[in-house]
């Protein structure tokens, strides 16, 4: 058995100056050993990030504090250590990387100097030696052209590059413990895969113990040696990866795993000859930037997008950030105006209609947005929000409100929700309200723009189920925008894969996601974390179920 690097025992963290208030972390014990990755998994509010901040001694002073238990780092107690001692230990014995690489680096200091600060604070090396060490570390995290990046400001670097800088900064003094708090959540899957590989390789080379915090079971399957599941500040269960994935002991873990959508596409539905309700023809959106004393710069957010959606079917648009998938959705709903091509909605060309002429067609296509916390007006009751659309189209108020009540029932919310305000609902409930609002106008097409991406996986499963159910009952057509191939595999009949504003591949989901013809689609599938696991069935994916990787 190798040595224990981090030993948390019976940790209690509570609100207030002394942590005597409500408990946020309740009696948590964890160990991380040398060369081991412990994944701390949980949904939002489970206390996983607070645990890591407690270890680093970075809890917000005055509002959160550890009140009980002990945290030992290589045998040294941290909870009672002085601020000075904690400062000495940071970056030398323990280091941390954070979720948002976009905001975690100081925007006004070149990245090389930000790493240099670590060396100046903790070593006596001269400037030359420090620079050599930094460049060497930057090469280890596989950054290209290190001399140039050394002098660059963060905003010149991509998200993946910034996260590499963070990793270089964390590991430059070879700490015993690396805490990674959702380090890949904000990144695209292909970048995520590279960063995960990088962390694993560096860990192997340096023998670091890694405490890896994530909400994503796929990532867990990729990187964990052992897994600890948290919920509401308590530890649910711990165990080796294989045991947790195959034979979880606790109900909560089982539910969590069975909510993870499978990457294996669901059984295809028979082709239909239902009428086409939505089609786009070479749809394009070009942003022109006029700069003074310079030529107009053109950015094609979407180009030549052609797709068809029939009644009762679900079409997915998948792609990474910047692929133009949301631009297409917003052009179709006419929240922005396309610059070329056409959109036909139930046989009517709507892409060039004026605001006024568009009005009668608006209600045929409705949209559900990503962020449930911002898509409902906080000052208006749920009933009023849902009734707003029908009232706009001449339905009497009383009738519209009555219909709102029925819709709430349809999306599984109690009827008394109608007179409440959005802040009284959770994220998943708000997303149901947003769906009810969209359905209030009896649209032919419902566009879901990353509609489940902000939700915890168990809530996500419920909302997906609701959408499928509504489609079955109402025969509505769904246009589903997502970056998550697992979600696409479970809900779509057909998928369109987009990259750099263009469609690179499209076809039935069962084909595209199992036998992709294009290298980019293959790369996407290959990068999907945990693709070898069928979480919901507690087993690895059976041979022959995914063909995607075999053809690589």
């Amino acid at each position: 058995m190798s040595d224990t690097v981090l030993d948390i025992s019976n940790l209690v963290v509570g609100l207030g100056k002394t942590g005597s208030g409500r408990k946020i972390i309740d009696n948590v014990s964890l160990q991380v050993r040398e060369r081991e990755t412990l994944c701390l998994v949980g949904e939002s509010g489970s206390g996983k990030s607070v645990t890591s901040l407690t270890v680093m001694g970075l809890l917000p002073k005055g509002s959160l504090a550890a009140s009980h238990g002990s945290i030992k780092l290589v045998g040294e107690e941290l909870l009672t250590a002085s601020d000075r001692r904690l400062r000495q230990l940071r970056a030398t014995r323990m280091a941390m990387i954070f979720q948002e690489p976009m905001t975690a680096l100081n925007p006004v200091v070149p990245v090389g100097r930000q790493i240099d600060e670590v060396l100046r604070a903790h070593t006596n090396l001269d400037a030359r030696a420090r620079q050599r060490k930094i460049l060497n570390m930057m090469e280890q995290v596989r950054l290209p052209d290190v001399e140039r990046i050394f002098k660059s400001y963060p905003h010149r670097l991509s998200g993946g590059q910034r996260q590499r800088i963070m990793i270089a900064m964390a590991l430059v003094l070879e700490p015993k413990l690396l805490i990674a708090d959702e380090p890949t959540t904000a990144l695209d899957v292909t970048t995520q895969k590279q960063i995960l590989t990088l962390i694993r390789d560096l860990q192997r080379d340096h023998g670091t113990a890694v405490l890896f915090i994530t909400h994503d079971m796929g990532v867990v399957a990729e990187i964990a040696d052992r897994v600890a599941v948290m919920r509401d500040g308590r530890l649910v269960e711990t165990g080796p990866l294989d045991t947790i994935l195959r034979t979880p002991q606790m109900e909560y873990t089982r539910n969590l795993l069975s909510s993870v959508p499978s990457l294996v596409p669901r059984a295809p539905r028979p082709e239909t000859s239902e009428p086409v309700v939505l089609e786009t023809n070479d749809l394009g959106k070009i942003y022109r930037e006029h700069s003074f004393l310079g030529k107009a710069r053109e950015v094609a957010a979407a180009q030549d997008v052609t797709l068809t959606l029939r009644r009762g079917r679900t079409l997915g648009i998948v792609g990474e950030s910047g692929s133009g998938k949301s631009t297409v959705a917003r052009c179709i709903v006419r929240l922005i105006d396309p610059t070329s091509g056409g959109v036909r909605l139930a046989g009517h060309e709507i892409s060039t209609l004026s605001r006024r002429l568009l009005q009668p067609h608006r209600k045929r296509i409705q949209i559900v947005f990503q962020d449930p916390y911002r898509s409902l007006n906080p000052r208006i009751t749920v009933g009023e929000t849902i009734a707003e659309g029908p009232i706009n189209y001449g339905v009497p108020r009383a009738e519209a409100l009555k219909r709102a009540g029925e819709l709430l029932e349809l999306v599984d919310l109690p009827p008394d929700a109608i007179s409440r305000y959005p802040h009284q609902f959770s994220g998943g409930q708000r997303q149901r309200i947003a769906i009810a609002r969209a359905l209030a106008l009896d649209p032919d097409v419902l566009v879901a723009d990353e509609a489940v991406s902000a939700l915890d996986v168990s809530v996500q499963a419920q909302v997906l189920e609701l959408l499928a159910d509504i489609q079955k009952r109402l025969g509505i057509a769904l246009l589903f925008i997502t970056h998550d191939l697992r979600v696409a595999a479970q809900i779509c009949d057909d998928v369109v894969v987009m990259q750099h504003g263009r469609v690179v591949e499209q076809g039935p989901a069962a084909e595209v996601l199992t036998n992709p013809q294009v290298a980019y689609t293959r790369a996407l599938l290959d990068a999907a974390p945990g693709r070898r696991w069928d979480f919901a069935n507690f087993r690895p994916v059976a041979l022959g179920e995914t063909v995607a990787t075999a053809t690589l």
Partner: protein, 313 residues
């Protein structure tokens, strides 16, 4: 960079245009005969006529505007109706005291206010923070002239450390000069310190909640480095912005302070011109101070590019 510079300068042109138009219309759109208004209640018809002709008020409005703008662009700000001296020359004679107290105020205020704001944000919620915030609310609320008279009462009349009023140019002795600008500077600094300290605190609090400050702390560097090298560098942009917009307050303060301490500066010149309805001087002073304001803010815009690498040229 050059493109950015030119773009910023060009953006200032319409602003000054609006100011010029406003100043121009101010007199012409006032109800009644502008010449009679300027001449005052006791003027003879001949005097009124003379003013009308000297200001070109009998020509069509658009023509008046273009002649006026044309003269302005040639640096001709007109002639004082009272002393018959060219306005530019009048201003030149009175500009020294004003520049002296404005500069000393800016320097003193920044030296006092920025540390106050940083400490208040760092010690957020403690008595130090409340003290600084209290001081800044008071600084905002007590009128400049009240502060001025309180200081005069204490330091000039009761303690007799400093002269009550007046000005001595710097070339006639450094000590009398300093003695005479100390109280005006202190008076004027009050509101500026309040403004800058408040903004520094707010900006620091904003920045201290940022992820990169957490990153800096996670690196194990000292709290001083975290505060100064990471937080203050990033808080600098809003702080210098408020120094720029606060320039308008400073100008207003100068006008009042010069009256309190009887300084022969351009603030005093303006007040005298207003009381005497010396319209060309009023016009020139509004144009001049607005131009200074726009110029200062232009410089501050350019300073952004040095402070924040993300700002695109």
């Amino acid at each position: 960079m050059l493109g950015y510079l030119i773009r910023r300068i060009l953006a200032a042109v319409p602003v000054m245009g609006v100011v010029a138009l406003f100043v121009f219309l101010l007199l012409r759109l006032t109800p009644g005969d502008p010449a009679a208004i300027i001449a005052g209640d006791t003027a003879t018809p001949e005097q009124i006529d003379r003013i009308r002709i000297s200001l070109g008020l009998n020509e069509p409005l658009y023509l008046q505007f273009f002649t006026w703008i044309g003269r302005l662009l040639h640096g001709d700000l007109g002639v004082s109706l009272i002393s018959n001296v060219p306005v530019l020359k009048l201003i030149g004679q009175r500009v020294e005291p004003t520049i002296c107290i404005a500069l000393s105020t800016i320097i003193l205020s920044i030296l006092i206010a920025v540390p106050l704001g940083v400490v208040a944000a760092w010690k957020h919620g403690t008595w130090i923070d409340r003290f600084v915030m209290g001081l800044s609310v008071i600084g905002f609320s007590v009128p400049v002239f009240v502060i001025g008279y309180v200081l005069v009462q204490i330091f000039a009349i009761d303690l007799q450390w400093l002269p009550v009023q007046g000005f001595r140019p710097i070339h006639r002795g450094i000590v009398p000069f300093i003695e005479r600008i100390t109280l005006p500077t202190l008076t004027l600094s009050f509101i500026y310190v309040a403004l800058i300290a408040r903004m520094t605190r707010a900006a620091m609090l904003d920045v201290l909640g940022e992820d990169y400050v957490r990153t800096a702390r996670a690196k194990g560097i000292t709290e001083r480095s975290v505060l100064l090298r990471h937080a203050l560098r990033n808080a600098a942009v809003p702080v210098i912005t408020v120094i720029g917009t606060g320039f308008a307050l400073l100008i207003s303060g100068v006008v009042v302070t010069e009256s309190v301490f009887n300084l022969p500066g351009i603030g005093r010149l303006t007040v005298d011109a207003v009381l005497a309805r010396d319209y060309p001087v009023i016009q020139a002073m509004i144009l001049l101070t607005s131009a200074i304001y726009v110029g200062v803010n232009l410089l501050i815009d350019l300073a952004y590019t040095l402070l924040d690498p993300r700002i695109r040229y």
